[in-house]
Symmetry: C2
Subunit: 108 residues, 2 copies
């Protein structure tokens, strides 16, 4: 099955980026336990103090969808909502390979 990648751009209100980063890092502890989540990487933007990017790779779109109803995701959404000005999704992508991700059928 084809892997599923996406990148969410989170924009915060009132300088709350570090609060959101803590919430996302906390959520990532649960993602670490899920075999179907390969990558879940939280990045700050060096040029915009109100933005975080989360780059995610899942074993399938279905696995990603299923994760959204998990307790950890529901808690994250509930806690993050008051400090979010917006969320923009880039993707979906299909990760083809490279360094730091498991090999795909395209790699020799």
């Amino acid at each position: 099955m084809r892997r599923f990648g996406l990148c969410n751009t989170f924009t915060v209100v009132d300088g709350k980026r570090d609060t959101l980063a803590e919430l996302l890092l906390e959520a990532s502890k649960e993602m670490k336990k899920l075999e179907e989540c390969e990558l879940y990487i939280i990045n700050s933007d060096d040029n915009n103090p109100d933005v975080l990017y989360v780059y995610e790779v899942w074993s399938s779109e279905e696995a990603h969808q299923a994760s959204l109803s998990m307790d950890v995701s529901q808690t994250l959404i509930k806690k993050a909502r008051p400090i979010l000005a917006g969320v923009e999704k880039t993707g979906p992508f299909t990760p083809l390979g490279g360094k730091g991700i498991s090999a795909s059928s395209l790699e020799s």
Copy 2:
């Protein structure tokens, strides 16, 4: 030292995406040998057949800059240039942590 992340969006000419993907996957074999390159992930866009995204994380901005003058990068640039319509950089980012990346000082 703070890590350095960026994402390059490559747009190809003449349906040459798979050719570019092969060039990037080939280059990633060299990146796998570099300790200072933590992630180098090639992704296709599910909604645009002319686009590839490369998400990279380096130990520092200097390490990334140094990599650009390596033979592997020069060869990649030379072979890719004729099939590229454009390159757009997003970032730089600072990776804060999560799954699939080494821990940062922000993670407990």
